[in-house]
């Protein structure tokens, strides 16, 4: 009985301090010192929020760099993230990879003569873990560069330098792998050529 009472009091104290005090204190500190990050790293263009730098969004058509495939419903749903969960020998995975590869070939082929499936980097045809991976590999960005340059009438070198500028290297030059932030790259592209 004494244990029961102690337990109820203890969990009440813990809930007050750890459940409310700790997150509230952190939220107050965060909003005072690093509000943009605390609110979800939202990106604004002309005063309107167009997305988050930490979430992939759908880009279609030839004028934009495309993101990796997404398993969320609808695609790139940053309100319901998910893996695809298809196993390494799954026939459904084989079908999805083949379909994604065919789409990439159809889109990039005309601008990259001689492009075959062997030239497609793996991130272009596989779903990401979150479904909202904001990055593509530098290799996939380079593959798309010729199309962007042709459609937007930009020199290839200009597109490639934009890619380099928006490649997040390894953190502190050491941790993780380099990736190209697609939303930021596309926004920079829009600035360069309307």
């Amino acid at each position: 009985m004494k244990n029961l009472l102690s337990s109820v009091v203890a969990i009440a104290v813990f809930t007050a301090v750890l459940g409310f005090g700790y997150p509230a204190l952190l939220a107050a500190f965060a909003s005072a010192t690093m509000s943009s990050q605390a609110q979800g790293s939202l990106v604004t263009v002309n005063g309107k929020v167009v997305g988050s730098r930490l979430a992939a969004q759908a880009f279609t058509g030839p004028r934009y760099f495309h993101e990796r495939p997404s398993a969320t419903s609808p695609a790139y749903n940053a309100g319901a993230t998910t893996f695809a969960n298809l196993g390494p020998t799954s026939p459904d995975l084989a079908k999805a990879v083949a379909a994604n590869a065919a789409a990439v070939l159809k889109l990039e082929g005309p601008y990259n003569p001689g492009l075959t499936i062997h030239g497609i980097p793996v991130d272009a045809v596989t779903t990401s873990a979150s479904g909202i991976d904001p990055d593509i590999s530098p290799a996939y960005a380079r593959l798309q560069a010729r199309r962007i340059a042709a459609v937007r009438h930009l020199p290839l070198a200009a597109v490639e330098s934009l890619i380099a500028k928006h490649t997040d290297g390894r953190s502190l030059g050491f941790f993780g792998e380099p990736g190209v932030n697609v939303l930021e790259l596309n926004l920079a592209l829009d600035k360069e050529s309307k």
Partner: protein, 570 residues
């Protein structure tokens, strides 16, 4: 494997020791000091005494193992009721800006069991199922408290080894408070602030819907994320704020956060080995235990990383470029993120499955047969390779007792450990502690794959579906919480899973306390020439062998039915 990958792994290992060692010594002080703070931090001591007053305990009065266990159990039952109630009622409560409804009964039970037992198995998608109130006051509180319970029990068991001719192991409320206030909370605050600075949200604003560059609508979930992610990594909890866990950029935005979150997974469990060495005054022995754990960790990375880099059957035969280099990490990038690549997903996979953390930064269901077999086996070893905070090392004691016993048989005399005789009672309890959970895993998997209600949870067909089921019960019984996430929620899987988590937590916990209690009562015998030395490499090797021969052999038949068959196909 690239040079960069190897450097990152080496750096990770060094950082783990460099931070874990001093933290371990500090933790030893936290659990042995009569008063914390001293004259310089009088306020700390004041708050602590205030807590004991409202809880109604005399901090100088200690409990024997049975009393300690009783308090743990009653406290856990109370916590279960609270978390269950909050979920059921969340639709009518405050801090629910996204207007989510109450959680169904069987899912609430599974989630309550999951968070009380430090499992953090998630049959739900956090961002769309749980209100901010549930995440904060229900789940995040348990992230702290369930971790603190494990740490408290470990402290009590270690005291059992350190003491002679005593009955008491400590005061649960003191150990619980100190684990939380002096270890978990300060570390979480530091980590959470760094996480926010890198882009992990911490806000009470609702999810936002934006109009994208090309005019589509996109919902972006946010909330008090950083506060929860920090503790879920440090407390070996693993329950994500978002469904895709630490693969989601809002939980884990870049390489730096990934490194820190990965380090946090093993930090406290590794530190506890050194804490133990300090508390029983056997530092060399602690290093040997650490070496055995580290060896199993390294083997895991050495299997998982090349398997994933080699790629899955489907990707290899598809013809796409899975070669590493030229701006691509290559390999099996299905359900993985570009910014982590293969190497950092591999280290995470092994760390999280060794440590009973269960958070992931990539999907396990999509891993190659050999790659996915690594976490499967790691869980089955009983989460003793570093393991859960507290529960890892107290689980390792079962294997240590067995190893010492085996060594005793070989030299033909009564086994001793830390100067105390290991007798029939301890060996029996250790055997139950080590073998109960693996036996349960196999039994529940067997039931699940021969019943209609069990089969309904399978997502991928064929042998991979069997592996999904095996992994689900392996993960829940061992209180890990990671998943082959295709495995689905049914009322059957939710309820069986709840039972698995409760038994998987409390049977070993009680066994460990019982061993602690019986060790505390023993006298210390002087070392003799015939004593098997536990402070040499021979001991580490023997310990790894005992683990491999018990749990390792038990899972082998199941492994052949799952990943091994799948690896041989195609």
């Amino acid at each position: 494997m690239s040079g960069q990958g190897i450097t990152q792994i080496l750096f990770y290992s060094l950082a783990l020791i460099a931070l874990g060692y001093p933290l371990g010594l500090y933790m030893a002080r936290v659990y042995t000091a009569e008063r914390i703070g001293g004259r310089r931090f009088r306020l700390l001591g004041g708050i602590e005494r205030g807590f004991y007053k409202v809880v109604g305990t005399d901090p100088t009065k200690e409990q024997d193992w049975k009393g300690y266990a009783k308090t743990v159990l009653i406290f856990s039952i109370v916590c279960t009721s609270v978390v269950y109630a909050i979920q059921r009622l969340q639709g009518h409560l405050f801090l629910n800006p996204n207007h989510v409804k109450g959680v169904p009964a069987h899912l609430s039970l599974n989630t309550a069991a999951s968070f009380i037992t430090n499992t953090n198995w998630q049959f739900y998608a956090g961002e769309s199922t749980m209100s901010y109130l549930t995440q904060m006051a229900g789940l995040a509180v348990q992230n702290f408290v369930s971790a603190a319970v494990g740490m408290a029990v470990l402290a009590a068991v270690v005291r059992g080894f350190a003491r002679r001719s005593r009955n008491e192991l400590g005061n649960f409320w003191v150990d619980l408070y100190r684990s939380t206030a002096y270890i978990l909370l300060p570390l979480s605050l530091i980590l959470a602030v760094i996480l926010v600075s890198q882009g992990v949200p911490q806000t009470f604003h609702a999810a936002t819907t934006v109009t994208t560059v090309q005019g589509a609508h996109q919902t972006i979930a946010r909330g008090p994320v950083a506060s929860q992610i920090a503790i879920k990594q440090l407390g070996t909890n693993g329950g994500g704020y978002y469904n895709s866990n630490s693969a989601v950029p809002f939980e884990n935005p870049n390489g730096l956060t990934n490194f820190l979150e990965m380090l946090s997974i093993l930090l406290i469990p590794a530190a506890q080995v050194f804490m133990f060495g300090k508390m029983v005054a056997a530092k060399r022995h602690a290093w040997m235990v650490f070496a055995a754990m580290f060896a199993i960790f390294a083997i895991g990375v050495a299997v998982n990383l090349p398997a994933e880099q080699h790629g899955s059957q489907v990707l290899r035969s598809s013809g796409v470029n899975i070669t590493q280099g030229h701006g691509s990490s290559g390999g099996n990038l299905t359900d993985k993120e570009v910014r982590f690549g293969i190497a950092n997903t591999a280290i995470w996979t092994v760390a999280t499955s060794d440590a009973s953390n269960g958070s992931v930064n990539g999907g396990f269901d999509a891993q190659t047969p050999a790659g996915g077999a690594v976490p499967l086996v790691n869980l089955f070893l009983g989460e003793v390779v570093f393991g859960g905070v507290g529960s890892g090392l107290y689980g390792m004691f079962f294997y240590i007792v067995m190893a010492v016993f085996v060594a005793g048989l070989m030299v033909g005399r009564t086994p001793e450990y830390l100067g105390k005789k290991i007798e029939a009672r301890e060996i029996k309890i250790a055997t139950i502690g080590a073998l109960f959970v693996p036996t349960m895993v196999l039994a529940l998997t067997a039931i699940s794959v021969v019943t209609k209600s069990g089969l309904a949870s399978i997502y991928n067909s064929g042998v991979h579906g069997f592996t999904e089921t095996l992994y689900a019960y392996d993960s829940q019984s061992n209180n890990n919480g990671s998943a082959f996430a295709g495995f689905g929620l049914t009322s059957f899987s939710a309820e069986v899973g709840s039972v698995a988590m409760f038994l998987g937590r409390f049977v070993p916990l009680l066994a460990a306390l019982a061993i602690g209690g019986s060790m505390a009562r023993k006298k210390v015998a002087p070392l003799s020439a015939g004593t098997f030395r536990t402070d040499g490499v021979t001991f580490s090797v023997l310990l790894v062998a005992v683990i491999a021969l018990t749990a390792g052999l038990m899972i082998f038949p199941a492994l052949t039915l799952g990943p091994i068959v799948e690896g041989l196909m195609h």
